[in-house]
Every structure is written in structure tokens, then in C-alpha cells.
């Protein structure tokens, strides 16, 4: 109870937290690829021995500011009394952040680690190829792919896959999964420190034991360290912008008075942030 209220205070900017070191794993990938079901599979295998918090992020409407948060529905592990006591699940809306990962998630994760959780899993918004902001928050990144991801050139494209510490091809019971694994494997043979690739199926259970084991022992890849720092810097900079008290008023003026982006930036600079 107390913990849930504290997290709200952090989310609303009413409480500051210090960074706490620990394992923060982001699970990311396109919408509908099975991220929530994989998280459920992981929780079933690791709880109650390991205390796990899940921060499930869903998008805020850019129009109304509201959000519909539905990731809990798939977490059947919460119905198991022997396990649910060591699990905490919180739905997070992206609110005013520009990308899929609100910067406040880092504070929330730190607070959970400081409150005796061994592992924080961040389930991201269904993300596209270039949605890399989760690297700023998580210490490890798992990218989930599905059996239908286009031709083999897709596997060669730059982006999120390059930041993965582990690649999971989910829905391996469906046709096409094998080809995706092959495409990705071929693509990654040209990479110096390629991440492992595993196949999973929430239906047959294939690969879930391996995934649960791997999540605790994933090694950080050297190449992603710089990308991580870069994302952290970008996120911090964006925060300064969003927290500028004139931010919303300037957006209004852009819509209503038609002032340009250059002028809007100047006006934001004029005011003390």
C-alpha cells in the first residue's frame, strides 16, 4: 500500500529518488508480439523465489491525456496466491513524454529496487524499429520478434535490434518463426558481439524456462554501452523541455497563433525553466 502511494508521488513529481543499482530489464518489441504473455511466463518461473516488480507502460492519448492500461489482464500469475505475494505490477501511462518511455520510469524502478525487489521488468509500449529510449532506463534490453516480420532485409536494418542483449522470437509454434530465426542469425553473424537468439512460445511453453534463466544472467554488450549513455542524455534533455513551465502554453500558441518552431524554442529559452 505505502509503496503504491510512493510510486504515485514519484510519478507526479512530488518525490525525488536516488538511483539504485540493480537489474532493470526492458522487454520491447512490436505491438501484439506477445510481450505481456512472455512476462507472465517469466513471473511463473521466477516467483516467489525472486521478488519481481513489473512496470507495464501503455500510451497516453495525445488528444485527451487519458490512457487505457490493459497489460494486467494477461498476467495470470497474479491469480496464483503462492506467487503473487512476491510480485508487484504497476501500469504506467506515458503521459507527457515524447516517446514510449517516460523518464519517470527510471525513478520508479530505482525506488522498487531500493525496496527489496530483486528484478524490475519494464514492459514497453509496442515499439517500432527506432524506439530506443528504453536503453536510457533499463540495464538490459530484450527485443521480442514475431513470426511475421517481413523479408530478410528487415533483419539487416539498423535500429533497436542492435541494442538488444537478447533477442526472443516468440510465437514459435506459428509458421514463419523458423525463417525469422534464420534471418536474424545470418544478419548477426556479421556482428562482433552478437546477442543470443532464443525461440519461445507462450502456448507450447517452448523456450520459457531458458528465457527465465537467461534474464537473470544476461551480459551487457560493450557496443550498447555508448548507445545507452546517448539515450540517457537525450532523455534528460527532453525532460528539461517538458518541465519548462511555459511548455504547454507555447504549444497552444503554435496551434492558435501559428508561431513557428524556431520562435517557440526562443520563447522557451526566455523563461526560467
Amino acid at each position: 500500500m505505502q509503496l503504491a502511494r510512493q510510486l504515485s508521488a514519484i510519478e507526479n513529481g512530488e518525490m525525488q529518488v536516488e538511483d539504485t543499482k540493480g537489474l532493470i530489464v526492458a522487454i520491447t518489441g512490436p505491438p501484439g508480439v506477445g510481450k505481456s504473455c512472455l512476462v507472465d511466463g517469466i513471473l511463473h518461473r521466477l516467483a516467489p523465489e525472486i521478488k519481481i516488480a513489473v512496470l507495464a507502460v501503455d500510451p497516453t492519448s495525445p488528444l485527451s491525456g487519458g490512457a487505457l492500461l490493459g497489460d494486467r489482464i494477461r498476467l495470470s500469475v497474479l491469480d496464483d496466491d503462492s506467487k503473487s505475494e512476491s510480485i508487484y505490477v504497476r501500469s504506467i501511462a506515458t503521459r507527457s513524454s515524447s516517446g514510449s518511455m517516460p523518464s519517470i520510469v527510471r525513478g520508479l524502478a530505482s525506488h522498487l529496487l531500493a525496496n527489496s525487489f530483486d528484478l524490475v521488468i519494464i514492459e514497453t509500449v509496442g515499439a517500432g524499429q527506432s524506439e530506443m529510449r528504453c536503453a536510457a532506463v533499463a540495464t538490459r534490453i530484450i527485443v521480442v520478434e514475431g513470426p511475421a516480420r517481413g523479408d530478410s532485409v528487415q533483419a539487416e536494418k539498423a535500429g533497436l535490434l542492435e541494442l538488444a542483449d537478447l533477442i526472443v522470437v516468440n510465437k514459435s509454434d506459428l509458421e514463419g518463426a523458423e525463417r525469422v530465426v534464420n534471418d536474424l542469425t545470418v544478419s548477426l553473424t556479421l556482428t562482433n558481439d552478437a546477442p543470443p537468439i532464443i525461440r519461445t512460445s507462450a502456448i507450447s511453453g517452448e523456450g520459457l524456462d531458458e528465457l527465465a534463466e537467461l534474464i537473470l544472467s544476461l551480459e551487457e554488450r560493450n557496443s550498447s554501452r555508448r548507445a545507452r549513455a546517448r539515450q540517457q542524455l537525450l532523455m534528460a534533455h527532453e525532460n528539461i523541455l517538458i518541465q519548462n513551465p511555459a511548455f504547454d502554453a507555447i504549444i497552444d500558441r503554435m496551434c492558435e497563433e501559428g508561431i513557428g518552431v524556431e520562435e517557440a524554442l526562443r520563447k522557451l529559452d526566455e523563461r526560467p525553466s
Binding site: M1, A4, G66, A67, V89
Partner: protein, 145 residues
């Protein structure tokens, strides 16, 4: 528009019809609130656990199976036992007129039947958020009083 609230929309009991719950969840979302939907066939314990974890200020219960007179008061009691006394409870679905006064007495603050305009539910949320009418409050007010 009032302040953003965190609201759980839940389906207690065994009926499998959640069109109404989803429409209400959507209306609240479009009203600027953060809505957590639990999915079908949740037990009172599961619903209270969700409210606690999510630090929600409102809980909307949808029932079409006739179990409301058992489920809604039970959830109100569990909320009080858990110390979640500032949570505001409202309900909807098929709730006969003659059952309502008992539900209000148990701590439910509003019941919205079929045909309720979504604007009215938003008005209720804004009004109730400014009033001390959580499930543990001595206030015997209810919406439409």
C-alpha cells in the same frame, strides 16, 4: 476538465459481457483519466489487489449477472479492511431499482444503468474527486441523491 484520476474498471462475477465496461473505460480515457481494465471474471480479492497496486482512486464495477448484491458490498468491505478508505466505488450494468438502496448503504456512490450518457459518468468522477466520499467515509451521499 477535472484533474486526471486513476480508475480501475472491473468485472466481478461470472458473466462474460464486457461491452459496457469497455465503453465506460473508453469514455473515461477520452475524458483524460488513466483507466486500468481488469478483464473478465475477477474475484473481489483480485479487484482489491489491483486497486491497491495501481493506487487507483476510483473503482467502477460492472455486473450483468445479478450477483451485484453479493459482489459489490463484499468489495466495499474488503477495501475498508485493506485501509483503502478513500477509494470511491461506483457501479453499472443491470442493477434493478429495488437493489440500489442496499448498495448505496454498503458504500457504493453511484450506479449507472444502460443509457447513461458518458458525460454524466465524467461529471460524477469530477464531483466525487472533490468530495470526501471514499468507501470509508461516513458521508451517506450518493450520485443522483
Amino acid at each position: 476538465m477535472g484533474a486526471r484520476q486513476r480508475i480501475v474498471i472491473a468485472k466481478p462475477g461470472l458473466d462474460g459481457h464486457d461491452r459496457g465496461a469497455k465503453v465506460v473505460a473508453r469514455a473515461l480515457r477520452d475524458g483524460g483519466h488513466e483507466v486500468i481494465y481488469t478483464g473478465l471474471r475477477r474475484t473481489p480479492d483480485q479487484i482489491v489487489r489491483t486497486i491497491m497496486d495501481e493506487d487507483a482512486r476510483f473503482i467502477g464495477l460492472s455486473s450483468l449477472s445479478g450477483a451485484h448484491s453479493h459482489q459489490f458490498p463484499k468489495i466495499c468491505n474488503l477495501l475498508r479492511e485493506a485501509g483503502l478508505t478513500d477509494v470511491v466505488v461506483f457501479g453499472g450494468g443491470i442493477i434493478p431499482e429495488e437493489d440500489r438502496s442496499a448498495l448505496f448503504a454498503a458504500g457504493v456512490r453511484a450506479i449507472f444503468g444502460p443509457g447513461t450518457p458518458s458525460a454524466e459518468i465524467l461529471e460524477f468522477v469530477e464531483f466525487a474527486s472533490q468530495r470526501d466520499c471514499g468507501v470509508g467515509s461516513q458521508d451517506d451521499w450518493h450520485w443522483g441523491d
